[in-house]
């Protein structure tokens, strides 16, 4: 009897999990669907027929295209900087004992746990106090700041699993410090670095709150969308969202498959 009830409970849990997954995914379905909506009125809120028109006219709204490009530039720039300095910090924290390690760990934690709003507000305070104009550069600075901890933590997690005797062996065989790093350490921590890079890119291209404080007159993709909520989101936004979603999912799947192949 108890076993029967147990099995029924499991089945209910299974159904429940799917209900939650469908709930979480339903806004995605709506976004994709309304990128195909042949809307005639100004607002894109009711289904009026199928069309590919918005895919053909994807770049017709020049402000929106500029905003998307700004987002991509900032994401690329901030990812490159974050990966460079974050990987170095991850190596230092994962491999070495040094003075200030505790403070560094605390700062890394503080950067993750500071609410985005407070981070944005404090950066604006700095830029205002220092009379610094706000543009794509200040956005990039901010994005590096909030991505840095994530890259550091991801790389550090990978570094601590690394067997130090590998590097010692390379040194014993006459490799230089740089050679050892490039040919032994870097390939071994590469999955962590790549994961960190993807995280940094995703965080950057998605960010609205911090960016809204430090953007000046530069508009990014999320800022443009929020700005057009009142007047109605054009279907091109849905299409861009759909394409970003598709590319992201493809990269994630490719990554998972190649990880499985490597074993």
């Amino acid at each position: 009897m108890s076993r029967l009830r147990g099995r029924l409970g499991d089945r209910l849990l299974h159904v429940y999990t799917w209900v939650i997954i469908i709930w979480l995914s339903s806004p995605i379905a709506v976004m994709i669907l309304f990128g195909f909506n042949d809307k005639k009125s100004k607002s894109n809120t009711s289904w009026q027929g199928f069309t590919f028109r918005w895919y053909r006219e994807l770049f017709e709204i020049s402000d929106l295209t500029t905003a998307l490009l700004n987002s991509i530039y900032v994401a690329v720039a901030s990812t490159v900087i974050t990966v460079l300095i974050g990987t170095a910090l991850g190596l230092a924290l994962g491999r070495h004992r040094f003075r200030g390690r505790g403070v560094t760990n605390f700062l890394v934690f503080a950067a993750i746990s500071t609410p985005e709003l407070v981070m944005g507000a404090s950066l604006l305070s700095l830029f205002v106090s220092a009379n610094l104009p706000r543009d794509a550069v200040t956005i990039t600075i901010a994005h590096v700041l909030f991505s840095l901890s994530f890259v550091t933590v991801t790389v550090r997690a990978r570094v601590v699993t690394l067997d130090p005797s590998l590097e010692e062996a390379a040194r014993d065989l006459g490799a230089t410090a740089w050679g050892t790093f490039r040919q032994v350490t870097l390939p071994a921590i590469m999955p962590g670095v790549m994961a960190g890079a993807m995280l940094a890119f995703a965080l950057s291209i998605d960010d609205y709150v911090v960016t809204s404080f430090v953007n000046g007159s530069t508009i990014t993709f999320p800022l443009w969308i929020i700005g057009s909520v009142k007047t109605g989101i054009p279907p091109q936004v849905n299409v861009m969202g759909t394409l970003i979603f598709g590319i992201g999912v493809l990269i994630a799947i490719a990554n998972a498959v190649s990880a499985r192949r490597r074993g």
């Binding site: 995914s25 170095a88 230092a92 840095l148 809204s212």
Partner: protein, 283 residues
């Protein structure tokens, strides 16, 4: 040279964190005590009244944010725990598929996701519009522009951040411990309450931390899903800073928000008996 290596590796990040995290906090602390306006400039006057003014003027929104954030966190916990439990114990070889499906929303921009969710909740949208058309709901029924819509949006947006840490904690539970409890004739409920639940608490702790802070401070959900009577502290800080250019008031508000959240986390950590907040969060 070898002894210098860690310092050289850490130096760029140290500089970044010092200049753009520590110094800005100090700048904000300083601005929060100044008086003046955006045109004539601000001067340091050590006016603590910025804090008392901001608090008395915006305490409603601050309290509302804490209630919305807290309600959403509780909802996430109640909704998410069973999902984490299912994936950890019952999903077998399909664990990664379920985790992937749970993470799908993160491939869509946060802002766009919130708007799409609001779209689903719209008065005459595909959900309520259809139900109204079938006569299942009264014509005046609406969810958008209510506190419920904001809480639902916060819950929707951060749910995976609650599920994942709980899943990680449950996944680490040794199945033999559960079997042992059952061998000793513990009922399913007793096994869960006395064995599984206590072992999953670190995950619950991390999940609450990862969701409560950002949900409470979030301005987007209230802006997109709420009405004029649902503004949260995040919206106030944004408009005070960016539209009204009242930097001192906005800085004071930001600090108050952070202090309230820190105190909240501390009390919460104490209540759960976790001695070291950092350690628990790092796990």
């Amino acid at each position: 040279m070898k002894r210098l290596t860690p310092y050289l590796l850490a130096l760029p990040s140290w500089m970044w964190l010092a200049i753009f995290l520590v110094v800005p906090m100090a700048a904000m602390a300083s601005v929060s005590l100044q008086t003046g306006n955006a045109i004539d400039g601000f001067a340091m006057t050590f006016s603590v009244s910025n804090y008392t003014d901001a608090l008395s003027r915006y305490s409603t929104q601050l309290v509302r944010s804490l209630i919305y954030g807290g309600a959403a966190t509780l909802a996430m916990l109640a909704i998410g725990y069973p999902v984490a439990y299912f994936i950890a114990f019952k999903a077998g070889s399909r664990k990664s598929m379920y985790l992937f499906l749970l993470l799908l929303p993160f491939f869509v921009s946060f802002v766009l996701r919130t708007i799409s969710w609001g779209f689903l909740l719209a008065d005459d949208g595909i959900l309520f519009g259809t139900l109204k058309g079938w006569g299942l709901l009264p014509a005046g029924f609406h969810v958008l522009a209510t506190g419920f819509a904001v809480i639902a949006g916060l819950t929707y947006n951060w749910l995976p951040f609650m599920i994942l840490p709980i899943y990680v904690a449950l996944e680490r539970v040794d199945p033999r411990v559960v079997e042992a409890a059952q061998d000793l004739y513990a009922s399913r409920i007793a096994t869960f309450r006395r064995v599984v639940l206590p072992l999953s608490l670190p995950g619950v702790f991390a999940g609450v931390l990862m969701t409560f802070v950002p949900a409470t401070a979030d301005p987007v959900n209230a802006q997109v899903l709420g009405g004029t009577s649902n503004t949260m502290i995040g919206n106030i800080i944004q408009t005070t800073y960016l539209t009204n250019l009242q930097y001192p008031t906005a800085s004071a508000l930001s600090f108050t928000l952070m202090a309230v959240l820190l105190v909240g986390i501390f009390i919460y950590a104490r209540a759960l008996g976790t001695e070291n907040v950092l350690e628990a969060a790092a796990r």
